[in-house]
Symmetry: D2
Subunit: 139 residues, 4 copies
Protein backbone atom coordinates (compact mmCIF):
# COMPACT_ATOMS: atom_id res chain seq x y z
CA UNK A 1 0.00 0.00 0.00
CA UNK A 2 1.65 3.16 -1.27
CA UNK A 3 2.03 6.23 0.92
CA UNK A 4 2.72 9.77 -0.32
CA UNK A 5 5.00 11.91 1.86
CA UNK A 6 4.96 15.68 2.22
CA UNK A 7 7.35 17.58 4.50
CA UNK A 8 6.99 21.19 5.64
CA UNK A 9 8.07 23.59 8.35
CA UNK A 10 5.59 25.06 10.85
CA UNK A 11 5.44 28.82 10.33
CA UNK A 12 5.64 31.46 13.01
CA UNK A 13 2.28 32.97 12.02
CA UNK A 14 0.50 29.61 12.30
CA UNK A 15 1.01 29.56 16.06
CA UNK A 16 -1.21 31.28 18.57
CA UNK A 17 -0.67 33.09 21.88
CA UNK A 18 -0.44 29.74 23.67
CA UNK A 19 2.67 29.11 21.52
CA UNK A 20 1.20 26.16 19.58
CA UNK A 21 -0.30 25.78 16.12
CA UNK A 22 -3.96 26.78 15.84
CA UNK A 23 -5.81 23.51 15.21
CA UNK A 24 -7.44 24.50 11.91
CA UNK A 25 -3.99 25.08 10.39
CA UNK A 26 -3.24 21.38 10.81
CA UNK A 27 -6.08 20.65 8.39
CA UNK A 28 -4.59 23.27 6.06
CA UNK A 29 -1.30 21.33 6.15
CA UNK A 30 -3.19 18.15 5.22
CA UNK A 31 -4.75 19.95 2.26
CA UNK A 32 -1.27 21.05 1.15
CA UNK A 33 -0.22 17.39 1.24
CA UNK A 34 -3.28 16.58 -0.92
CA UNK A 35 -2.31 19.35 -3.36
CA UNK A 36 1.24 17.96 -3.62
CA UNK A 37 -0.12 14.42 -3.99
CA UNK A 38 -2.25 15.50 -6.98
CA UNK A 39 0.64 17.49 -8.45
CA UNK A 40 3.04 14.54 -8.13
CA UNK A 41 0.39 12.35 -9.78
CA UNK A 42 0.21 14.65 -12.82
CA UNK A 43 -3.08 16.37 -12.02
CA UNK A 44 -2.46 19.66 -10.19
CA UNK A 45 -5.55 20.97 -8.40
CA UNK A 46 -5.27 24.42 -10.02
CA UNK A 47 -5.67 22.84 -13.46
CA UNK A 48 -8.54 20.70 -12.27
CA UNK A 49 -10.56 23.53 -10.72
CA UNK A 50 -12.76 25.26 -13.25
CA UNK A 51 -11.66 23.13 -16.15
CA UNK A 52 -13.18 19.70 -15.61
CA UNK A 53 -16.90 18.98 -15.44
CA UNK A 54 -16.47 17.32 -12.04
CA UNK A 55 -15.49 19.24 -8.92
CA UNK A 56 -14.30 17.61 -5.68
CA UNK A 57 -15.55 19.57 -2.67
CA UNK A 58 -14.90 18.21 0.82
CA UNK A 59 -17.84 16.48 2.44
CA UNK A 60 -16.14 15.74 5.74
CA UNK A 61 -12.91 16.41 7.64
CA UNK A 62 -11.67 15.26 11.01
CA UNK A 63 -8.46 15.40 13.03
CA UNK A 64 -7.17 14.09 16.34
CA UNK A 65 -4.31 16.02 17.91
CA UNK A 66 -1.85 14.01 20.01
CA UNK A 67 0.97 16.46 20.63
CA UNK A 68 1.36 20.25 20.14
CA UNK A 69 2.94 21.56 16.91
CA UNK A 70 5.46 24.34 17.54
CA UNK A 71 6.84 27.13 15.31
CA UNK A 72 9.97 26.10 13.39
CA UNK A 73 9.29 22.36 13.69
CA UNK A 74 9.77 20.14 10.59
CA UNK A 75 6.74 17.89 10.08
CA UNK A 76 6.21 14.93 7.74
CA UNK A 77 2.71 14.03 6.56
CA UNK A 78 2.09 10.49 5.32
CA UNK A 79 -0.98 10.49 3.06
CA UNK A 80 -2.78 7.29 2.14
CA UNK A 81 -6.06 6.46 0.40
CA UNK A 82 -8.56 5.12 2.92
CA UNK A 83 -11.48 4.30 0.66
CA UNK A 84 -12.50 4.76 -2.98
CA UNK A 85 -16.26 4.83 -3.37
CA UNK A 86 -18.51 5.23 -6.37
CA UNK A 87 -18.91 9.00 -5.90
CA UNK A 88 -16.40 9.90 -3.19
CA UNK A 89 -13.05 8.97 -1.68
CA UNK A 90 -11.40 9.24 1.73
CA UNK A 91 -7.79 10.32 2.34
CA UNK A 92 -6.00 9.61 5.60
CA UNK A 93 -3.07 11.53 7.05
CA UNK A 94 -0.54 10.78 9.76
CA UNK A 95 1.67 13.64 10.91
CA UNK A 96 5.07 13.02 12.50
CA UNK A 97 7.73 15.22 14.11
CA UNK A 98 11.45 15.13 13.49
CA UNK A 99 12.08 12.26 15.88
CA UNK A 100 9.23 10.19 14.51
CA UNK A 101 6.78 11.17 17.25
CA UNK A 102 3.15 10.88 16.16
CA UNK A 103 1.67 14.41 16.26
CA UNK A 104 -1.78 13.94 14.76
CA UNK A 105 -4.04 11.90 12.50
CA UNK A 106 -6.59 13.36 10.11
CA UNK A 107 -8.95 12.34 7.31
CA UNK A 108 -10.82 14.14 4.54
CA UNK A 109 -13.70 12.88 2.39
CA UNK A 110 -13.96 14.37 -1.12
CA UNK A 111 -17.20 14.13 -3.07
CA UNK A 112 -17.44 14.13 -6.86
CA UNK A 113 -19.95 16.78 -7.94
CA UNK A 114 -21.26 17.66 -11.39
CA UNK A 115 -20.34 21.29 -11.87
CA UNK A 116 -23.48 22.09 -13.88
CA UNK A 117 -26.12 20.53 -11.62
CA UNK A 118 -24.40 20.55 -8.21
CA UNK A 119 -25.32 16.87 -7.75
CA UNK A 120 -22.97 14.03 -6.84
CA UNK A 121 -21.80 11.89 -9.77
CA UNK A 122 -19.39 9.04 -10.37
CA UNK A 123 -15.68 9.82 -9.84
CA UNK A 124 -13.69 11.11 -12.79
CA UNK A 125 -11.79 8.13 -14.27
CA UNK A 126 -8.43 9.93 -14.16
CA UNK A 127 -8.92 10.72 -10.46
CA UNK A 128 -9.88 7.10 -9.78
CA UNK A 129 -6.77 5.80 -11.55
CA UNK A 130 -4.53 8.07 -9.43
CA UNK A 131 -6.21 6.99 -6.19
CA UNK A 132 -6.00 3.28 -7.03
CA UNK A 133 -2.20 3.43 -7.05
CA UNK A 134 -2.38 4.36 -3.36
CA UNK A 135 -5.41 2.26 -2.42
CA UNK A 136 -5.56 -0.40 0.26
CA UNK A 137 -5.78 -3.98 -1.05
CA UNK A 138 -9.36 -5.24 -1.45
CA UNK A 139 -10.74 -6.77 1.75
Amino acid sequence: MAVFEHRFRVRFQHTDPAGIVFFANILVYCHEAYEEFLRASGMPLEEFIGKREHSLPLGHAEATFKRPFRAGQLVTIKLSVGRIGERSFRLEYDLFGEEGEHLATAATVHVSVDRATGRSIGLDQKVRAILEKYAPPPA
Copy 2:
Protein backbone atom coordinates in the same frame (compact mmCIF):
# COMPACT_ATOMS: atom_id res chain seq x y z
CA MET B 1 -30.89 22.80 26.83
CA ALA B 2 -29.37 26.21 26.15
CA VAL B 3 -27.84 27.09 22.80
CA PHE B 4 -25.42 29.97 22.14
CA GLU B 5 -25.78 31.77 18.81
CA HIS B 6 -23.07 33.53 16.83
CA ARG B 7 -23.70 35.26 13.50
CA PHE B 8 -21.06 36.34 10.98
CA ARG B 9 -20.58 37.18 7.33
CA VAL B 10 -18.44 35.00 5.04
CA ARG B 11 -15.48 37.06 3.86
CA PHE B 12 -14.25 37.37 0.31
CA GLN B 13 -10.77 36.13 1.22
CA HIS B 14 -12.12 32.97 2.84
CA THR B 15 -13.31 31.66 -0.50
CA ASP B 16 -11.17 29.80 -2.97
CA PRO B 17 -10.90 29.66 -6.77
CA ALA B 18 -13.88 27.31 -6.88
CA GLY B 19 -15.91 30.22 -5.41
CA ILE B 20 -16.69 28.49 -2.11
CA VAL B 21 -15.24 28.73 1.40
CA PHE B 22 -12.10 26.69 1.97
CA PHE B 23 -13.16 23.90 4.38
CA ALA B 24 -10.68 24.68 7.16
CA ASN B 25 -12.15 28.19 7.49
CA ILE B 26 -15.45 26.63 8.60
CA LEU B 27 -13.64 25.25 11.64
CA VAL B 28 -12.17 28.73 12.18
CA TYR B 29 -15.74 30.11 12.27
CA CYS B 30 -16.65 27.49 14.90
CA HIS B 31 -13.69 28.60 17.01
CA GLU B 32 -14.89 32.20 16.73
CA ALA B 33 -18.28 31.05 18.06
CA TYR B 34 -16.43 29.34 20.95
CA GLU B 35 -14.50 32.58 21.63
CA GLU B 36 -17.76 34.57 21.71
CA PHE B 37 -19.40 31.91 23.90
CA LEU B 38 -16.60 32.24 26.47
CA ARG B 39 -16.68 36.05 26.25
CA ALA B 40 -20.47 36.13 26.77
CA SER B 41 -20.00 33.79 29.75
CA GLY B 42 -17.56 36.21 31.39
CA MET B 43 -14.34 34.32 30.65
CA PRO B 44 -12.71 35.66 27.45
CA LEU B 45 -10.14 33.27 25.99
CA GLU B 46 -7.45 35.96 25.83
CA GLU B 47 -7.62 36.37 29.61
CA PHE B 48 -7.58 32.64 30.12
CA ILE B 49 -4.54 31.94 27.96
CA GLY B 50 -1.30 32.36 29.84
CA LYS B 51 -2.96 33.36 33.09
CA ARG B 52 -4.60 30.25 34.49
CA GLU B 53 -2.79 27.08 35.44
CA HIS B 54 -5.01 25.03 33.12
CA SER B 55 -4.90 25.33 29.35
CA LEU B 56 -7.55 23.91 26.98
CA PRO B 57 -5.94 22.67 23.76
CA LEU B 58 -8.10 20.90 21.19
CA GLY B 59 -7.84 17.12 21.19
CA HIS B 60 -10.19 16.53 18.26
CA ALA B 61 -12.17 18.39 15.63
CA GLU B 62 -14.56 17.21 12.93
CA ALA B 63 -16.95 18.76 10.42
CA THR B 64 -19.45 17.56 7.85
CA PHE B 65 -20.21 19.95 5.02
CA LYS B 66 -23.72 19.79 3.58
CA ARG B 67 -23.87 22.87 1.33
CA PRO B 68 -21.24 25.30 0.00
CA PHE B 69 -20.61 28.55 1.89
CA ARG B 70 -20.32 31.57 -0.44
CA ALA B 71 -18.70 35.01 -0.02
CA GLY B 72 -21.03 37.62 1.43
CA GLN B 73 -23.42 35.06 2.96
CA LEU B 74 -24.68 35.65 6.54
CA VAL B 75 -24.28 32.49 8.63
CA THR B 76 -25.61 31.61 12.10
CA ILE B 77 -23.75 29.10 14.28
CA LYS B 78 -25.69 27.37 17.06
CA LEU B 79 -23.23 26.12 19.68
CA SER B 80 -24.23 23.56 22.29
CA VAL B 81 -22.34 21.51 24.87
CA GLY B 82 -22.25 17.87 23.82
CA ARG B 83 -20.51 16.30 26.78
CA ILE B 84 -18.72 17.39 29.96
CA GLY B 85 -16.16 14.87 31.09
CA GLU B 86 -13.76 14.75 33.99
CA ARG B 87 -10.85 16.18 32.01
CA SER B 88 -12.37 17.28 28.71
CA PHE B 89 -15.54 18.60 27.06
CA ARG B 90 -17.15 18.43 23.64
CA LEU B 91 -18.81 21.36 21.86
CA GLU B 92 -21.18 20.87 18.93
CA TYR B 93 -21.98 23.37 16.20
CA ASP B 94 -24.73 23.63 13.62
CA LEU B 95 -24.31 26.22 10.89
CA PHE B 96 -27.29 27.69 9.05
CA GLY B 97 -27.73 30.06 6.10
CA GLU B 98 -30.07 33.03 5.90
CA GLU B 99 -33.09 30.94 4.95
CA GLY B 100 -32.49 28.40 7.66
CA GLU B 101 -30.78 25.89 5.37
CA HIS B 102 -28.41 23.57 7.22
CA LEU B 103 -24.90 24.24 5.89
CA ALA B 104 -22.68 22.13 8.15
CA THR B 105 -22.24 20.42 11.49
CA ALA B 106 -19.03 20.35 13.49
CA ALA B 107 -17.66 19.35 16.87
CA THR B 108 -14.54 20.13 18.89
CA VAL B 109 -13.13 18.33 21.94
CA HIS B 110 -11.13 20.44 24.39
CA VAL B 111 -8.78 18.83 26.89
CA SER B 112 -7.82 20.34 30.23
CA VAL B 113 -4.03 20.35 30.55
CA ASP B 114 -1.81 21.38 33.43
CA ARG B 115 0.37 24.14 32.05
CA ALA B 116 3.40 23.16 34.12
CA THR B 117 3.49 19.43 33.41
CA GLY B 118 1.66 19.16 30.09
CA ARG B 119 -0.53 16.39 31.52
CA SER B 120 -4.33 16.25 31.48
CA ILE B 121 -6.03 17.30 34.72
CA GLY B 122 -9.56 17.85 35.99
CA LEU B 123 -11.49 20.72 34.37
CA ASP B 124 -11.19 24.16 35.92
CA GLN B 125 -14.28 24.68 38.12
CA LYS B 126 -15.15 28.02 36.51
CA VAL B 127 -15.06 26.42 33.05
CA ARG B 128 -17.22 23.54 34.29
CA ALA B 129 -19.80 25.95 35.72
CA ILE B 130 -20.05 27.81 32.40
CA LEU B 131 -20.45 24.59 30.43
CA GLU B 132 -23.11 23.21 32.74
CA LYS B 133 -25.45 26.07 31.87
CA TYR B 134 -25.44 24.77 28.28
CA ALA B 135 -25.23 21.07 29.06
CA PRO B 136 -27.67 18.39 27.92
CA PRO B 137 -29.89 16.98 30.69
CA PRO B 138 -28.42 13.88 32.38
CA ALA B 139 -29.37 10.66 30.61
Copy 3:
Protein backbone atom coordinates in the same frame (compact mmCIF):
# COMPACT_ATOMS: atom_id res chain seq x y z
CA MET C 1 -15.50 64.58 3.73
CA ALA C 2 -17.38 61.38 4.56
CA VAL C 3 -15.76 58.57 6.50
CA PHE C 4 -16.99 54.96 6.61
CA GLU C 5 -16.60 53.14 9.93
CA HIS C 6 -16.13 49.42 10.49
CA ARG C 7 -15.75 47.85 13.93
CA PHE C 8 -14.47 44.34 14.69
CA ARG C 9 -12.91 42.26 17.43
CA VAL C 10 -9.34 40.92 17.17
CA ARG C 11 -9.50 37.12 17.08
CA PHE C 12 -7.39 34.75 19.12
CA GLN C 13 -6.01 33.01 16.03
CA HIS C 14 -4.83 36.29 14.49
CA THR C 15 -2.22 36.73 17.21
CA ASP C 16 1.21 35.15 17.19
CA PRO C 17 3.54 33.67 19.82
CA ALA C 18 4.65 37.18 20.78
CA GLY C 19 1.02 37.77 21.83
CA ILE C 20 0.27 40.44 19.21
CA VAL C 21 -1.53 40.42 15.86
CA PHE C 22 0.56 39.23 12.92
CA PHE C 23 1.08 42.34 10.78
CA ALA C 24 -0.47 40.98 7.56
CA ASN C 25 -3.77 40.40 9.37
CA ILE C 26 -4.06 44.17 9.88
CA LEU C 27 -4.24 44.55 6.10
CA VAL C 28 -6.87 41.78 6.08
CA TYR C 29 -8.94 43.88 8.54
CA CYS C 30 -8.63 46.87 6.18
CA HIS C 31 -9.90 44.72 3.29
CA GLU C 32 -12.88 43.69 5.45
CA ALA C 33 -13.63 47.40 5.98
CA TYR C 34 -13.44 47.86 2.18
CA GLU C 35 -15.85 44.91 1.71
CA GLU C 36 -18.31 46.44 4.20
CA PHE C 37 -17.91 49.87 2.57
CA LEU C 38 -18.89 48.42 -0.83
CA ARG C 39 -21.75 46.42 0.72
CA ALA C 40 -23.12 49.51 2.52
CA SER C 41 -22.86 51.41 -0.78
CA GLY C 42 -25.03 48.82 -2.55
CA MET C 43 -22.29 47.05 -4.49
CA PRO C 44 -21.09 43.95 -2.58
CA LEU C 45 -17.72 42.67 -3.78
CA GLU C 46 -19.01 39.13 -4.24
CA GLU C 47 -21.53 40.37 -6.80
CA PHE C 48 -18.90 42.47 -8.51
CA ILE C 49 -16.30 39.71 -8.87
CA GLY C 50 -16.87 37.63 -11.98
CA LYS C 51 -19.91 39.55 -13.11
CA ARG C 52 -18.69 42.94 -14.31
CA GLU C 53 -16.28 43.49 -17.15
CA HIS C 54 -13.96 45.47 -14.88
CA SER C 55 -12.03 43.89 -12.02
CA LEU C 56 -10.28 45.87 -9.27
CA PRO C 57 -7.06 44.14 -8.20
CA LEU C 58 -4.80 45.85 -5.68
CA GLY C 59 -1.80 47.60 -7.16
CA HIS C 60 -0.28 48.72 -3.86
CA ALA C 61 -0.77 48.38 -0.11
CA GLU C 62 1.05 49.89 2.85
CA ALA C 63 0.64 50.08 6.61
CA THR C 64 2.38 51.75 9.53
CA PHE C 65 1.92 50.09 12.92
CA LYS C 66 1.93 52.41 15.93
CA ARG C 67 0.78 50.16 18.77
CA PRO C 68 0.35 46.38 19.12
CA PHE C 69 -3.10 44.84 18.48
CA ARG C 70 -4.05 42.24 21.10
CA ALA C 71 -6.54 39.34 21.08
CA GLY C 72 -10.03 40.32 22.24
CA GLN C 73 -9.54 44.04 21.54
CA LEU C 74 -12.36 45.97 19.81
CA VAL C 75 -10.97 48.03 16.91
CA THR C 76 -12.62 50.75 14.78
CA ILE C 77 -11.41 51.36 11.23
CA LYS C 78 -12.17 54.74 9.64
CA LEU C 79 -12.02 54.39 5.87
CA SER C 80 -11.78 57.40 3.59
CA VAL C 81 -11.14 57.89 -0.13
CA GLY C 82 -7.68 59.35 -0.64
CA ARG C 83 -7.67 59.85 -4.41
CA ILE C 84 -9.86 58.98 -7.40
CA GLY C 85 -7.83 58.73 -10.58
CA GLU C 86 -8.77 57.94 -14.16
CA ARG C 87 -7.99 54.22 -13.82
CA SER C 88 -7.38 53.68 -10.11
CA PHE C 89 -8.31 54.89 -6.64
CA ARG C 90 -6.66 55.03 -3.23
CA LEU C 91 -8.37 54.18 0.06
CA GLU C 92 -6.96 55.26 3.41
CA TYR C 93 -7.56 53.61 6.78
CA ASP C 94 -7.03 54.73 10.36
CA LEU C 95 -7.37 52.09 13.06
CA PHE C 96 -8.27 53.02 16.64
CA GLY C 97 -8.55 51.10 19.93
CA GLU C 98 -11.37 51.30 22.45
CA GLU C 99 -10.02 54.41 24.14
CA GLY C 100 -9.42 56.22 20.86
CA GLU C 101 -5.72 55.38 20.74
CA HIS C 102 -4.32 55.38 17.20
CA LEU C 103 -3.16 51.83 16.42
CA ALA C 104 -2.21 51.99 12.75
CA THR C 105 -2.67 53.70 9.41
CA ALA C 106 -2.89 51.93 6.08
CA ALA C 107 -3.67 52.57 2.42
CA THR C 108 -4.59 50.45 -0.58
CA VAL C 109 -4.56 51.36 -4.28
CA HIS C 110 -7.07 49.55 -6.50
CA VAL C 111 -6.60 49.44 -10.27
CA SER C 112 -9.42 49.08 -12.78
CA VAL C 113 -8.60 46.25 -15.16
CA ASP C 114 -10.45 44.97 -18.21
CA ARG C 115 -11.24 41.36 -17.47
CA ALA C 116 -10.84 40.24 -21.08
CA THR C 117 -7.50 41.88 -21.91
CA GLY C 118 -5.91 42.25 -18.46
CA ARG C 119 -5.12 45.93 -19.26
CA SER C 120 -6.00 48.94 -17.10
CA ILE C 121 -9.10 50.84 -18.19
CA GLY C 122 -11.20 53.75 -16.93
CA LEU C 123 -13.05 53.19 -13.63
CA ASP C 124 -16.54 51.72 -13.77
CA GLN C 125 -19.01 54.62 -13.47
CA LYS C 126 -20.92 53.00 -10.61
CA VAL C 127 -17.69 52.54 -8.64
CA ARG C 128 -16.72 56.16 -9.33
CA ALA C 129 -20.09 57.42 -8.08
CA ILE C 130 -19.72 55.47 -4.82
CA LEU C 131 -16.19 56.77 -4.25
CA GLU C 132 -17.14 60.38 -4.94
CA LYS C 133 -19.50 60.41 -1.97
CA TYR C 134 -16.45 59.80 0.24
CA ALA C 135 -13.95 61.83 -1.75
CA PRO C 136 -11.88 64.74 -0.46
CA PRO C 137 -12.97 68.15 -1.79
CA PRO C 138 -11.12 69.20 -4.97
CA ALA C 139 -7.84 70.98 -4.23
Copy 4:
Protein backbone atom coordinates in the same frame (compact mmCIF):
# COMPACT_ATOMS: atom_id res chain seq x y z
CA MET D 1 25.66 42.98 -1.82
CA ALA D 2 24.37 39.62 -0.70
CA VAL D 3 20.85 38.48 -1.49
CA PHE D 4 18.96 35.67 0.28
CA GLU D 5 16.66 33.55 -1.89
CA HIS D 6 13.49 31.74 -0.81
CA ARG D 7 11.36 29.69 -3.20
CA PHE D 8 7.79 28.50 -2.59
CA ARG D 9 4.68 27.36 -4.37
CA VAL D 10 1.45 29.40 -4.31
CA ARG D 11 -1.21 27.38 -2.50
CA PHE D 12 -4.76 26.80 -3.68
CA GLN D 13 -6.25 28.28 -0.50
CA HIS D 14 -4.27 31.52 -0.88
CA THR D 15 -6.22 32.46 -3.99
CA ASP D 16 -9.57 34.18 -4.00
CA PRO D 17 -12.73 33.98 -6.13
CA ALA D 18 -11.08 36.18 -8.75
CA GLY D 19 -8.55 33.33 -9.17
CA ILE D 20 -5.54 35.30 -7.93
CA VAL D 21 -3.66 35.45 -4.62
CA PHE D 22 -5.26 37.68 -1.99
CA PHE D 23 -2.83 40.62 -1.60
CA ALA D 24 -2.16 40.20 2.13
CA ASN D 25 -0.84 36.68 1.50
CA ILE D 26 2.00 38.18 -0.54
CA LEU D 27 3.20 39.92 2.62
CA VAL D 28 2.87 36.57 4.42
CA TYR D 29 5.22 35.05 1.80
CA CYS D 30 7.72 37.85 2.47
CA HIS D 31 7.59 37.10 6.18
CA GLU D 32 8.29 33.44 5.41
CA ALA D 33 11.38 34.55 3.46
CA TYR D 34 12.41 36.60 6.53
CA GLU D 35 11.90 33.54 8.77
CA GLU D 36 14.06 31.41 6.45
CA PHE D 37 16.68 34.18 6.27
CA LEU D 38 16.98 34.23 10.07
CA ARG D 39 17.04 30.42 10.23
CA ALA D 40 19.79 30.20 7.58
CA SER D 41 21.73 32.83 9.56
CA GLY D 42 21.61 30.69 12.72
CA MET D 43 18.95 32.67 14.60
CA PRO D 44 15.49 31.12 14.04
CA LEU D 45 12.65 33.47 14.93
CA GLU D 46 10.97 30.89 17.19
CA GLU D 47 14.06 30.82 19.42
CA PHE D 48 14.28 34.58 19.41
CA ILE D 49 10.65 35.23 20.40
CA GLY D 50 10.15 35.12 24.12
CA LYS D 51 13.75 34.36 24.91
CA ARG D 52 15.72 37.51 24.20
CA GLU D 53 15.18 40.83 25.92
CA HIS D 54 14.66 42.57 22.58
CA SER D 55 11.66 41.91 20.36
CA LEU D 56 11.39 42.96 16.70
CA PRO D 57 7.81 43.97 15.84
CA LEU D 58 7.07 45.39 12.41
CA GLY D 59 6.72 49.14 12.28
CA HIS D 60 5.86 49.37 8.58
CA ALA D 61 5.12 47.18 5.57
CA GLU D 62 4.43 47.98 1.94
CA ALA D 63 4.03 46.12 -1.32
CA THR D 64 3.51 46.95 -4.98
CA PHE D 65 1.86 44.26 -7.09
CA LYS D 66 2.90 44.13 -10.75
CA ARG D 67 1.37 40.88 -11.97
CA PRO D 68 -1.19 38.44 -10.49
CA PHE D 69 0.05 35.41 -8.52
CA ARG D 70 -1.82 32.21 -9.45
CA ALA D 71 -2.36 28.91 -7.59
CA GLY D 72 0.36 26.34 -8.30
CA GLN D 73 2.91 28.92 -9.46
CA LEU D 74 6.53 28.62 -8.21
CA VAL D 75 7.78 31.97 -6.91
CA THR D 76 11.27 33.11 -5.90
CA ILE D 77 11.73 35.88 -3.33
CA LYS D 78 15.03 37.77 -3.29
CA LEU D 79 15.49 39.37 0.12
CA SER D 80 18.04 42.11 0.71
CA VAL D 81 18.80 44.48 3.59
CA GLY D 82 17.75 48.01 2.66
CA ARG D 83 18.92 49.92 5.72
CA ILE D 84 20.35 49.21 9.18
CA GLY D 85 19.52 51.97 11.64
CA GLU D 86 20.34 52.46 15.28
CA ARG D 87 17.01 50.97 16.47
CA SER D 88 15.43 49.49 13.35
CA PHE D 89 16.18 47.88 9.99
CA ARG D 90 14.47 47.66 6.61
CA LEU D 91 14.25 44.51 4.48
CA GLU D 92 13.40 44.61 0.78
CA TYR D 93 11.86 41.84 -1.29
CA ASP D 94 11.57 41.22 -5.01
CA LEU D 95 9.28 38.42 -6.12
CA PHE D 96 9.76 36.64 -9.45
CA GLY D 97 7.83 34.01 -11.38
CA GLU D 98 9.24 30.92 -13.06
CA GLU D 99 10.28 32.77 -16.22
CA GLY D 100 11.92 35.58 -14.30
CA GLU D 101 8.95 37.94 -14.61
CA HIS D 102 8.83 40.52 -11.83
CA LEU D 103 5.65 39.88 -9.83
CA ALA D 104 5.95 42.29 -6.91
CA THR D 105 8.21 44.31 -4.66
CA ALA D 106 7.77 44.72 -0.93
CA ALA D 107 9.53 46.09 2.14
CA THR D 108 9.21 45.65 5.89
CA VAL D 109 10.66 47.79 8.69
CA HIS D 110 11.43 46.00 11.96
CA VAL D 111 11.86 47.96 15.19
CA SER D 112 13.94 46.81 18.15
CA VAL D 113 11.84 47.00 21.30
CA ASP D 114 12.75 46.35 24.92
CA ARG D 115 10.44 43.58 26.05
CA ALA D 116 10.12 44.89 29.60
CA THR D 117 9.36 48.56 28.87
CA GLY D 118 7.88 48.40 25.36
CA ARG D 119 10.24 51.21 24.26
CA SER D 120 12.57 51.16 21.27
CA ILE D 121 16.20 50.35 22.03
CA GLY D 122 19.41 49.74 20.10
CA LEU D 123 19.48 46.65 17.86
CA ASP D 124 20.66 43.38 19.37
CA GLN D 125 24.32 42.94 18.34
CA LYS D 126 23.76 39.43 16.99
CA VAL D 127 20.92 40.69 14.77
CA ARG D 128 23.09 43.57 13.57
CA ALA D 129 25.92 41.19 12.66
CA ILE D 130 23.56 39.02 10.60
CA LEU D 131 22.11 42.02 8.76
CA GLU D 132 25.53 43.50 7.97
CA LYS D 133 26.43 40.45 5.87
CA TYR D 134 23.56 41.41 3.57
CA ALA D 135 23.86 45.18 3.87
CA PRO D 136 24.36 47.62 1.01
CA PRO D 137 27.82 49.21 0.84
CA PRO D 138 28.07 52.50 2.74
CA ALA D 139 27.07 55.50 0.60
